[in-house]
């Protein structure tokens, strides 16, 4: 790890001002991605600005019936919060199926959105990587790419977005609130993550010094009937091969409301809008689920070793929706 200087700040204004004024500085929150990447020279800020004392770790009710998750709220605290478990079970489940208890005690929900990809070529400073070193190429395209994305890829980058939480948030249309040198902003979660396209080094529409202060969950009754299904190589403490966040209500055998998003298969948390269109108003049957899954995965591109993810994603969609419908029928 290269030497780094350190400042601890106690208010949001100083945090933003300090990082904005120093181009070589970075915010330090839970540090679970950042310290790791500093140690292997993938990220090299000269100064860390510790924001853990900022008053941004609360979970509050919003006047319109939504819920505000403070940017510094820890994954473990959000997952265990009664309002999250009752009204947004997909959020709680996604959090608890990610990382380990120790990491969830450290990592913040804003940091979870800002975490970097786990692509081995991104993490290896000797390897070509357009995300880490723009213009050097992509080692994964013809390399070991079993874990890589099949949706939203470009010829510059096929790294999978690693977050589980973000997949649940994308399904629910959460809003990311920030404070920065140009004032406060509210960014719809789907716009918060950028496709790699020709600029994979750019992952978020944030400016240097802009800080995620909260994640707002909208008032959304169907979110109470939601779940997160995660398929992986080992049963715990592992990233997703495929994940599905789904919320669904069924009236008289037909799908009245549907929210669907995919993780583990795309370069950003993937809202499955094409599948939602097929499902909206359709009979709540395995045939509908399968048809929707096929439409959603139609544009999927395999890079060799990750071919299996395409069918695995279809089957996981069918399973998630089947289990949700069964649960509702039983209720």
């Amino acid at each position: 790890m290269r030497p780094v200087s350190y400042s601890r700040v106690a208010d949001v204004g100083t945090a933003i001002g300090t990082v904005t004024a120093d181009p070589e500085s970075a915010f330090l929150a839970g540090g679970t991605t950042q310290i790791d990447l500093l140690r292997i020279y993938v990220e090299q800020p000269a100064r860390l600005v510790d924001i853990n004392d900022l008053p941004l770790n609360g979970i509050e009710e919003l006047p319109d019936g939504g819920l505000r998750l403070g940017g510094l709220a820890r994954m473990s605290d959000v997952a265990a919060h009664p309002a999250v478990r009752e009204r947004y079970p997909v959020v709680s489940e996604a959090l608890l199926l990610g990382a380990s208890p120790q990491l969830r005690n450290m990592a913040t929900v804003a940091g979870n959105l800002m975490q970097r990809v786990r692509c081995s070529y991104f993490r290896d400073t000797e390897a070509p990587c357009n995300k880490r070193a723009p213009g050097t190429g992509c080692g994964a395209l013809d390399g070991v790419n079993r874990g890589h994305a099949v949706l939203g890829t470009s010829d510059r980058c096929i790294a999978t977005h690693p977050s589980d939480l973000a997949v649940a948030l994308v399904a629910l249309d959460a809003v990311v609130r920030t404070e920065g040198p140009a004032g406060p902003r509210s960014i719809p979660i789907d716009d918060f993550f950028l496709l790699p396209d020709r600029t994979p080094e750019r992952e978020h529409p944030l400016t240097h010094g802009e800080l995620v202060t909260s994640i707002d969950l909208p008032a959304l009754p169907v979110a109470a009937r939601s779940r997160y299904v995660k398929i992986r190589d080992r049963e715990s403490y592992e990233f997703a091969l495929v994940a599905v966040a789904a919320a669904m209500s069924v009236v008289a055998g037909r799908i009245a409301e549907i929210r669907l998003a995919l993780g583990g298969v795309a370069t950003k948390p993937w809202r499955a809008r094409a599948a939602e269109q097929v499902l909206d108003g359709a009979p709540a049957t395995a045939d509908s689920y399968r048809r929707a899954a096929e439409v959603e995965l139609e544009p999927a591109v395999s890079h060799g070793m990750n071919e299996f993810k395409i069918e695995l994603a279809r089957r996981t969609i069918v399973r998630a929706l089947t289990e949700l419908a069964e649960r509702e029928a039983a209720a």
């Binding site: 200087s5 933003i16 001002g17 208890p101 120790q102 404070e179």
Partner: protein
């Protein structure tokens, strides 16, 4: 055009105190005792504990947040010391495996690991025990499946997992019996 004055959280000038990148004085409260040391800000809590404070119980396994051998508590919550900067723990309470026993009397979880033969090489054991005690405090030791899931952040390459679960069950059952007797 929104002026900075209009927002409650206007960016303030860069007024934060800069420490480092060379060695700076850091005071940590470890196992109830204030310890003073000189470390660079980049030094992890794990390295500070082992190399500066001679607390070698906390182990360095992967040094990248994958194995759990370095599990300690900060403010009573289990965390990974390898991904924590020592300097960021000022004003927080750090507890290591050395802080569990009362003098020569082992913590019940330490004793249970001995009684249940819950280790072979022992390298992961301090992390396992720090996690196991926290697990009981968190209330995630209901059955074996729950213990397995909530201990998944601590790898044991000797695969002593069945005996580790057995040790945790013993302490859980003792605690429950103790509560019932009161």
């Amino acid at each position: 055009m929104k002026s900075y004055q209009a927002t409650r959280t206007a960016p303030a000038p860069d007024s934060a105190v800069v420490r480092g990148p060379g060695e700076v004085e850091v005071r940590l409260r470890v196992n109830g005792e204030v310890r003073r040391m000189f470390v660079e800000p980049r030094v992890s809590l794990l390295d500070a504990l082992r190399d500066r404070l001679d607390l070698h119980g906390t182990k360095k396994g992967c040094n990248q947040g994958a194995c759990g051998a370095c599990t300690v508590w900060v403010d009573r919550r289990r965390v990974l010391a390898c991904l924590t900067l020592a300097i960021s723990c000022e004003n927080r309470e750090v507890t290591t495996i050395e802080g569990l026993s009362e003098g020569d009397t082992l913590h019940p979880m330490q004793q249970a690991f001995l009684d249940a033969d819950a280790f072979q090489c022992g390298y992961c054991t301090p992390g396992q025990i720090m996690s196991a005690v926290a697990l009981l405090d968190e209330g995630h030791a209901g059955d074996d499946d729950e213990i397995r899931e909530w201990m998944s952040g601590n790898l044991c390459r000797c695969a002593a997992y069945p005996h580790i679960r057995s040790a945790i069950r013993r302490v859980r059952d003792e605690q429950e019996a103790g509560r019932a007797a009161r």
